[in-house]
């Protein structure tokens, strides 16, 4: 059973073993508005917690997506670069951004659970 944690910057990370799947939250996509462009990191790239490693652009503006955890990018979701609107329609599901091999699972302790994130965005 995967656990889902949330960052201050509105990323979610679903963790199974030492692999984390990362996306942006439904709240974040709502704030962005219509997403028209997504840029993802290269597989193999090492990312540090808090590092800008993807870009999501709405009609209005470009926003960075930050790695909520340190690790190595294993796989990216080409479906959202091909169809950026997926980020609006299914941010918490099909529109995941990338997967990382987590370097240190203790970093997860600094993230928020669902209830804390709800309170953060309320």
């Amino acid at each position: 059973m995967a656990s889902v944690e949330y960052s201050q910057e509105h990323e979610w990370i679903s963790v199974e073993g030492d692999v984390g799947t990362i996306g942006i939250t439904p709240y974040a996509q709502e704030q962005l508005g219509d997403v028209v462009f997504v840029e993802l990191p290269q597989a193999g790239r090492k990312v540090a917690k808090g590092e800008a490693c993807a870009v999501v652009e709405s009609v209005k503006a470009a926003s960075d997506v930050y790695a909520p955890i340190t690790g190595e990018v294993l796989e990216v979701n080409d479906a959202i670069t091909a169809e950026p609107a997926l980020v609006n329609s299914d941010a918490a599901g099909k529109a995941w951004f990338f997967k990382v091999k987590i370097a240190d699972t203790s970093e997860l302790g600094g993230l928020m659970d669902e209830a804390a994130y709800q309170a953060h965005t309320a």
Binding site: G33, F37, E39, V59, N88
Partner: protein, 373 residues
């Protein structure tokens, strides 16, 4: 356009309506304005291009100029703008700019002659400065009346005329860049056939207290939906129209900006507006740089501030860029050195440190569809 820091935000007569419609409200030019409604910018953009959209542009500044006894308002205004204003027939409208002594642009504006006075529409962020400028230069010849509390509605799109004609039949014959007084819902309004989208459409100046009722009447038409400032920006960018404070400002001349068409033929020769010598010299010898359209390859979006480079050397800067919903791709405009400004020139746009190939292309990106009768 710059946002006013810290000052209390103002509201247009449609603030309550925006809230009711579920708009996302943002600070813009000192006002609380709707950036989008729940349908979102892409849907609002398409709505305007396909049917009709209603925009609240009441934050813009409306100013009335009436000549003092023995004076002529059109001649007076020509001392601060380069357009042919003296040649305006009653009901005719022109686009022009307030220029400074260096030929830079203080603001761009629309001027309409009603026959016995002139109506100006200026940008929201500049309106106080514009008013002071006009009062300083024209107070001796004209009564300068700011009408900043009036409403201004833009109804834009191929079905705008059909929708508005149901309320005001006489607008059907109005041609692009002309205007007339009308009565809507019992209120005296001034309608011009103009806008900022490249579509056919109208701008309707309304008494403040009638604005809400008129907006609701327009929204009750089956063709019409409310549109926010987000889509207003993507529509004007597709139409290749300048946004003050971004594509034009005090450091750009009308010639650099590609606005020579808006300068009267006689005025090019005779001058008589601030910065005329510089503008005339640029007409004759060419401006050092030109505003151009840019079509980047691929999907990356080059936004305002992105550098334009050629063989690694910076040759200009993007002043507006974004996703063009009608075209489903990124577009931009910016300034490049004149020698490199020819259509078809291959350049690079620097997006987040990466070089994106782009081509200089003619504007508009989406063909204008004005009603010329």
């Amino acid at each position: 356009m710059t946002e006013t820091p810290a000052a209390p935000l103002k509201r247009t007569p449609l603030y309550a309506l925006h809230r009711e419609l579920g708009a996302r409200i943002v600070p813009f030019a000192g006002y609380e304005m709707p950036v989008q409604y729940p349908t979102g910018i892409l849907a609002e953009h398409a709505q305007t291009r396909i049917a009709a959209g209603l925009f609240d542009v009441s934050h813009m500044g409306q100013v009335r100029l009436a000549a003092r006894s023995g004076q002529t308002a059109t001649q007076a205004l020509e001392t601060v703008v380069p357009a042919d204003i003296a040649g305006l027939q009653p009901g005719q409208q022109r686009y022009t700019q307030f220029t400074n002594d260096q030929g830079g642009i203080l603001d761009d504006l629309m001027v309409t002659s009603t026959g016995d006075h002139l109506l100006l529409v200026v940008n929201a962020a500049c309106k106080d400065a514009d008013l002071a400028h006009v009062q300083k230069h024209l107070a001796a010849t004209c009564e300068v009346e700011p009408m900043f509390s009036r409403g201004l509605l833009a109804l834009q799109g191929p079905l705008a005329a059909q929708a508005l004609a149901r309320l005001v039949p006489q607008i059907a014959d109005l041609k692009f860049m002309t205007g007339t007084f009308v009565v809507i819902d019992g209120a005296r309004c001034y309608v011009t056939r103009s806008g900022y989208t490249g579509c056919d459409g109208f701008e309707i100046s309304t008494p403040a207290d009638a604005t809400d009722a008129i907006a609701r009447k327009l929204l009750a038409q089956p063709e019409v939906k409310p549109i926010g400032l987000g889509a207003r920006d993507s529509l004007r960018l597709e139409a290749g129209l300048c946004l003050y404070g971004h594509d034009i400002d005090t450091t750009t001349t009308p010639i650099e900006a590609g606005l020579l068409w808006s300068i009267g033929k006689e005025r090019r020769a005779q001058g008589g507006f601030p910065g005329a010598a510089i503008v005339q010299q640029q007409i004759t010898e060419g401006a050092p740089r030109k505003r151009v359209g840019l079509l980047p390859e691929g999907k990356a979006i080059a936004r305002e501030g992105a550098e334009i480079a050629l063989s690694g050397k910076v040759v200009g800067k993007v002043t507006s860029g974004g996703f063009a919903p009608t075209l489903g791709r990124a577009i931009a405009m910016g300034y490049v050195e004149r020698a490199l400004s020819a259509n078809g020139t291959k350049v690079e746009l620097v997006v987040r440190g990466k070089s994106v190939p782009a081509e200089i292309v003619p504007m508009p990106f989406v063909k204008h569809a004005y009603y010329r009768g």
